[in-house]
Amino acid sequence: MTASLGSAALALAFLAFVFAAFAALAGRGRTSLRYAAESATSGEGGRERWVLASRRAVYAACGLLTVCVLLIELAFANDDFSLSIVQQHSSIETPTFYKLSAMWSSQEGSLLLWAWVLSLAASLALYATRGKLREIVPYATAVMAGVGTFFTGLMLFAGGVNPFAGLSPAPADGVGLNPLLQHPSMMIHPPMLYSGYVAFTIPFAFAIGALAARRLDASWIRATRRFALIAWALLGFGLLLGARWSYTELGWGGYWAWDPVENAALMPWLIGTAFLHSIMVQEKRGMLKVWNACLIVAAFSLALLGTFLVRSGVLQSIHAFGDSTVGPYILGLIAVVLIGSTALIVSRLDDLRSPRRIDSLASREAVFVVNNLLLVALCATIFWGTFFPLISELFTGEKSSLAAPWFDRYTTPLAIGLVLFTGIGPLLAWRRVSWATAKRVFVVPSLLAAAVGVGLVAFAGAAAEPWALALFVFATFALVGLGQEFWRGATARRSLRGGSLPAALVGIVSTNRRRYGGYIVHIGIAVLLIGIAASSSFQTNRDLQLAPGESAEVDGRTVTYERPTVAVDAQKFSFGGVVTVQQGDRSFVLRPARRYYRPTGQQSGTIASFFEGEATSEVGLRAGLGSDFWTSMAPDIAAVQRRVRAADQGFRACVGGEPGTPPQCRAVAQLMRAAVANPQLRPVALAQIERLQTATAERIARSYLSEGSVATFRVIVDPLVTWMWIGGLIALSGALIGIWPARRPRRRLVADTELEALKEAKYREIRDAELDHAAGKLSDEDFALLDAELRREAIEILGNGNGAYGIGEQTEPAKQPAEPL
């Protein structure tokens, strides 16, 4: 029932996407508002109708895919094992929370998630741009619907990846979800990454639309900037969650390994970062148009590449996803995207040229260009390293891979350069800054950064790690510079409006969310990089072999293995240890453990089967702002396993009623024989056996407590690593401030008309300049020049407004210049 209903909904969603793509293309072409108005009244607006139909078709696809997702979720909740996806990734015992999130643990479920999120994002984007960007929207719709067609078509026709594939007859129970994946962040991490990947589709689609329609001003950027920011934030959050999972759950104590799949998510994030900066240059100065188009094409292609990599098995990765059938199709899509977009950009090169040039190296746009180059270089390096096995196979015939040290060698200096520019950028104003002003703004951050550098060398011996030292110094520069920005902004606002300092701070952030949200992101990234540099350069990492009662010294702390612990239940054996850590007069207790599971899906069997499934580390972690104390435990269970094997043998002999077995065996053997004859007795016999088995398992487990065997502890003292997570969360909150729509009704997702948007942008620029002037970032002369220039441009826009877009009938009342702060 679910299977046929779901397949039908999926097929209809596919058809809706196909229709949307063709309808949108049928509705393309130049239309003016006047034409639209006429045609609406006279009832023959052919093109407008096609566009409307295509938009509604995307909404319909979104509705249908929502139905598909709900059906799958219901099937998981109700243990409907007639669906193969449910049978393979869930079981009756699986906790409900994991049942509901098990959908994306499967290939087909994750494809459905991709398509569904895409349909949601596309609907949202089309809803926000309805009645606007009339020339661009049809093409953008066609691109989004085309991608939707691809993914729904993949599920329907590629074979083996239809989420509604049925099983007949339906098995009584499912295989269950791998215990390693039963971790809260593992359940949020994949959808975050997916949504991040998918959200890049929207700016990409509108960029293609703008190129196709030759509407190459910044209107497509204004319409989709928020989506790019959302994609960036989701991808970043997904990366952070993955790192966190690796650190707390995987038992190796690291958070990043330069694994191909990690890199695949990092690359579009880096390009997205570059894009978010360089589009500001296009918005404000009309420059870098080709670059922006190339960046968004690259970001989208890399997002597709990430989707491809986890499904292809072409590269060796920690994430073994198995070879699957859909890889080649996704590769095909990437090829189409790259070739098509390149051809389109080349054919529009003449329209993309900007008459403007960067005025001065001491300007924000120049810094943005440098940061873009650094980010792209970083991405190119990671790309080369990730795909090196394929490259080397091509040239030498041998598959060779690059390890973390190679990546570190290049990414470290680039990251240090980037953190410097996260500090410099916000200190410079747009267009040009006189060196005198620049010097004034740079004094305090430079002096403090130098002081921190000297202090670190003198008192912390940081000279041994020059890269880390450089990063600390530059990050200090950035943090002080950003703090100074907030301070100057707030005091400037106070001098104009009065009020308390905190109120002024809230005021500048809420009236200029984009700018100060961005600064908060910068603060977060600087803090995050400090955490990474400190924890990777000054980490203490020791393996301790301790018997119960023994102690060892690690980095000034006394680590004592007090006593072993053990627990057995129907699913797992858990061997742990109570560890006390004493530092000075402070001490704390950690309880690391290692759990041994039966193979996923197996509920009963020999006791030895407990050691045939997953083994997971339960990390003992004491997090602190200064440093984390991390420990995992590898118990020596060789003796236990020997006893388990012996017990299993004894048990077999016992149940088989062999001679020489203890008396209580005879009763069990009798029961077994009776059960063979009478199936009704079977459950009774099985329960009896399980009771005996559990008792034996517990006895063996207890024997572990008394034998006092040596356990190996991996102990890591990670300085400042907590700041990595804190920095990530600061950056995320900054992005949220930038995404959040302003309260004023005028600034919705997209301004009402293009003219409105242009004016709005120009006014904001004038206000920015006033703020910069008040905050001392622009000298009086610079400000006078800039202000005159901006006002001239604003007047130009107002003049052009009459008639330029066919809106000329109503004349715009001359707006008063930007309201003061």
Binding site: Q88, S105, S106, Q107, S110, G160, V175, N178, L180, L181, E249, L250, G251, W252, G253, A257, V310, Q316, S317, I318, H319, A320, F321, G322, S324, R357, L373, A377, A380, T381, W384, G385, F388, P389, S392, T396, E398, K399, S400, S401, L402, A403, P405, W406, R409, Y410, D543, P599, T600, G601, E612, G613, E614, A615, T616, S617, S632, A634, D636, A638
Partner: protein, 145 residues
């Protein structure tokens, strides 16, 4: 910007030329970075080999071994783990392996691993803390356990 001819003093280069110089510098840096990347990656990389190829590989040279852990072959000793590894497709001869250091959670018989090390008298000796075990999960078509 007055003038703009050849006789400008060098401090006020005309913008066209200034941009050209900047472009050349940027391109030069890019080319140098690319060259360094290419050069170091070929020298820093380790070759990946499967167990069946390793049996005949040069002794002493460092390789990334990729293969599958033979089920039931894992033994824990005083100096770490001993186990056998076969080719990923399960064919070919297996090679004995010794390894000490952190063992990732997913490590067990039947799993694919990547381990850096060298062959010493017929035994692949893994470098400490280089064992990578692939996560199970996720998109594998069936559970093969």
């Amino acid at each position: 910007m007055e003038g703009g001819g050849h006789c400008d003093n060098p401090r006020t280069l005309d913008p066209q030329r200034k941009r050209k110089i900047r472009l050349v510098v940027a391109l030069g840096v890019a080319v140098m970075l690319a060259a360094a990347l290419v050069y170091t990656s070929f020298s820093a990389s380790t070759e990946a080999k499967e167990p069946s190829e390793l049996l005949s590989a040069a002794p002493g040279a460092t390789y990334d071994m990729t293969g599958k852990v033979v089920k039931g072959s894992i033994r824990r000793g005083d100096e770490g783990l001993r186990f056998r590894v076969v080719d990923r497709d399960g064919g070919g001869e297996s090679i004995p392996v010794t390894y000490s250091g952190t063992v990732p959670d997913p490590f067990r018989g039947g799993r694919e691993i990547v381990l850096t090390g060298a062959v010493e008298s017929g035994v692949f000796v893994g470098q400490p803390d280089t064992l990578v075990t692939k996560c199970p999960s996720k998109f594998t078509t069936s559970n093969d356990s």
